[in-house]
Subunit: 368 residues, 3 copies
């Protein structure tokens, strides 16, 4: 395990108070048992020790919770009712409506991020025309170009690059080797993981004379507050107008976001997803891993797309959408895939049978 710096020492009572503070009052919990026990860390149910906190957010893991040696367990009252510990063995319970969120804040409290030590490394390359706010940390090999603005408390990692006239909002962190190109803007408290590229040219060419003429990509990438962007993810600048990522969007690793896309607030995009140019994704959507979204379509708010699904048309009704060939043993797949190529013939044979037998299937069903 990584040598993670531990935070303040906590009893369960002080931890609960800290969680309530972090949740701005939106999370209340009822503690059953000894609030004075000390809690050092969070841990998985299977490996948790008596000084560690575990959580149960999915009824599937009730058995693991019952068997856990965690000193305290966060769960809903319903889960606690369903679990029967042998007399005298019940762990301390933290009952709340949103145990996973409670646990997340507890983990943040117990395992705080590495704290920022301000300072500009002598081997960082800062253009004299860059503007740095207070309390900034810029590490070795980082490059900050002319006109770039780095907000208060930003942390620019080793070898990260901030292009001309770009702006990084206060409290944001660029990890090692992240690249923000000219003229792009990030809001506050954003996290950009290593190797991510924000603001490369969109993919736009006009066919001409047997080849391709490049369309200049003159828009930017505009990113809201509290956005997280995964390692080696790429977000292209707009062709004309901008690519926009709204507040609170979380994007995983290896994702491609094309030029002029807009991703609505609080949407999450899992790894390896590709979003083609000018796609508009609503708010609070969830795109599963390796989903593919066609260009120039719109997906409404609160849409969930299964991993591996290609969305080829706009979606106007919130819901859960899928489209993946089910996996099976290869020989079986070969047979089914071959038959799939002949669905029309199967339909034809059904029609012929219907005609022969006189079943009245020639109405609307015939579309199928």
């Amino acid at each position: 395990m990584a040598a993670v710096s531990r935070g303040t020492r906590h009893t369960l009572a002080t931890l609960a108070a800290a969680v309530e503070r972090r949740g701005r009052g939106g999370l209340t919990a009822r503690i059953l048992g000894d609030q004075a026990i000390e809690i050092d860390a969070v841990a998985p149910l299977e490996s948790a020790h008596p000084r560690e906190l575990g959580f149960l957010a999915n009824a599937r893991y009730r058995n693991a919770a019952r068997a856990s040696s965690a000193g305290a367990l966060v769960m809903t009252a319903d889960d606690a009712d369903a679990l029967k510990w042998p007399a005298g063995t019940t762990p301390v319970l933290v009952l709340c409506a949103q145990p996973y969120a409670w646990f997340a804040f507890a983990a943040q409290e117990l395992q705080p991020e590495a704290s920022l030590v301000p300072g500009i490394h002598p081997r960082a390359e800062i253009d004299p025309l860059a503007i740095l706010a207070e309390g900034v940390r810029i590490e070795a090999g980082a490059v900050v170009a002319a006109g770039a603005q780095i907000g208060a408390g930003c942390w620019i990692g080793a070898r990260a690059t901030v292009g001309k006239n770009s702006r990084i909002g206060a409290g944001s962190r660029l990890f090692a080797g992240a690249t923000v190109l000219d003229g792009c803007r990030l809001g506050e408290r954003c996290i950009v993981h290593p190797g991510a590229v924000i603001g490369a040219d969109g993919f736009g060419f006009a066919s001409f004379d047997g080849g391709w003429v490049k369309i200049p990509q003159s828009g930017a990438v505009i990113i809201g507050n509290d956005v997280e962007i995964g390692a080696n993810t790429t977000i292209d600048r707009g062709t004309m107008g901008d690519t926009v990522i709204e507040d609170g969007v979380k994007i995983d690793n290896q994702v491609q976001v094309g030029h002029n896309c807009r991703i609505g607030a609080a949407t999450v995009v899992a790894g390896c997803t590709g979003i083609a140019g000018s796609a508009i994704i609503g708010r609070r959507c969830q795109l599963g891993g390796a989903a593919m979204i066609h260009g120039h379509i719109s997906i409404c708010d609160d849409t969930i797309v299964s991993g591996g699904t290609l969305i080829s048309r706009s979606i106007a009704t919130p819901g859960f959408y899928s489209g993946v060939f089910p996996f099976m043993p290869n020989r079986e797949w070969e047979r089914n895939a071959a038959l799939l190529r002949h669905l029309q013939e199967l339909r034809g044979r059904i029609r012929a049978l219907e005609a022969q037998v006189g079943v009245g299937a020639s109405g609307p069903k015939d579309d199928a």
Copy 2:
């Protein structure tokens, strides 16, 4: 929007002359209306102002063109005929056969690329045995190894790396953090976006003794002129012999090109596509986003592959190929996917019916 430097001031007449020059005479246009109007920029139809140029290249957007406030609109004569403006409100029209190409050249003229200021940054690391031509720009943190040759007017961005004995043709640009490994060659006027890796080892191992023996990857990557390579794209070196990307190929972000592939001239490869080793892609092909191409197959010239399609066998006939499970609401998908696993049983039931009824379907149809 990015603070893009504007080019020369233009009237529509001077702009048209510049486009004709850029198109080397291959693009002629007829202007209807006042050629003396000033044009500052290109813009989308919806947001264009009277000093901006819009374009219509798809009949689907005719309504947007009719409603646009652009000072001038590029389109075909057919589209212009189909659009009826209220008397006195017709914008200035630029009529030509290839409006998108005309527009592209106009955009290049109005929004020229940032101009190269030659110079070697003191924090670039240039090996004494590297060979730099005239007018080269090499930025902070870039590394150019022994024997590397950098052509005239090249721009090597911050933290880009050029390996030993590699060659970058005149007028090419490597953006921040791009990596060209030892012995690879790029032609003239190539663009390599941030984080792209050209010439990493191909993926080749021989099974032996319960493990894997690495096959040395001793080929290179050879790239023609006018090739564009997207952010975080990877192109592997050949195992024996080279990986070859011909002139005018355009590759988007997050693409993987395996060892010993050949991609024919003027082919375009959209984002997230994977091309496995030793695949041969023809000229003027278009591979949609997240397409997957098996290794050791050939795809003929002028083939179009839909996004998300896996090409598992060679294609010898030019055309448009697809193979994607259509997306649908998840519950419906679950039912259809389950039935898909039982196509053979459905066929068996049809056969049984045919036998019972005496329909003569037992001939060649029985393959389906």
Copy 3:
């Protein structure tokens, strides 16, 4: 071709001895013909010259082997028996049970890797609290943080980054721009290609109050010996507990490995594959390119997954699994995809026919 440094000059006899040594006695071969011929290099069958070695490991290429001008050919005795050369034209043959492995070791002998020249570049940034073993090479722009341990004979490429308290085992190589984040560990003789990111945060958030609360990612990435990690591949650190890559795993480019995954020894993962968090992959598995593995599932040892297949449930039986929509001309695909949406209706029509005709299909078959 890359200017690859050639190794020692070899006759076929000395080469065979070297292969036997590299294979630690596990590979024996019988040579038919003149063992004194000189061999300079390995080459593809089609282009091999008389001083080059070719191989045949797949009966499909027998014709190419027969037509090859290679001075010597490695193959099985069976293949040699099947090939009939015109009298007097048989090349020298190296017969062995595992020709591809024999060839791989021969190639390693003939085309040795660039040899490491130890030394710390003055423009590498080494924290005084980093610990470097003997014979290490660290190139320009590399960054090694406090507490990092670099094993004997490691090669840290230009602009590579090694985070705090991480450990790189002896004989490992990080190529240009590779990033290993804080607290991660690599075993001995690992190879990390350019742009790979090891140890970025896993993708974990709890829903709260219309947004997302970040789960601190406090685990690490633990990598065994002899692991190879492709260009721009990303391997996330564990949330709690670690992400583990066992000995001898080979991972291609553009792969995403989520938090808390475990990949068993000697498994190979082809390019563009995505493995979601907490997936457990067995030993000696082979995941084809662009495969997608759901989170929180287990795949048993010796499983092969076809390229492009999404594995959505655990696999408990070793075997070869597939699930890809077959590609076809687009118009045909459109029709088949449309029918696929109506499989239930086709089944309903079959049922109606069966009822009408009186075929007894209403038993278990009715599930299909």
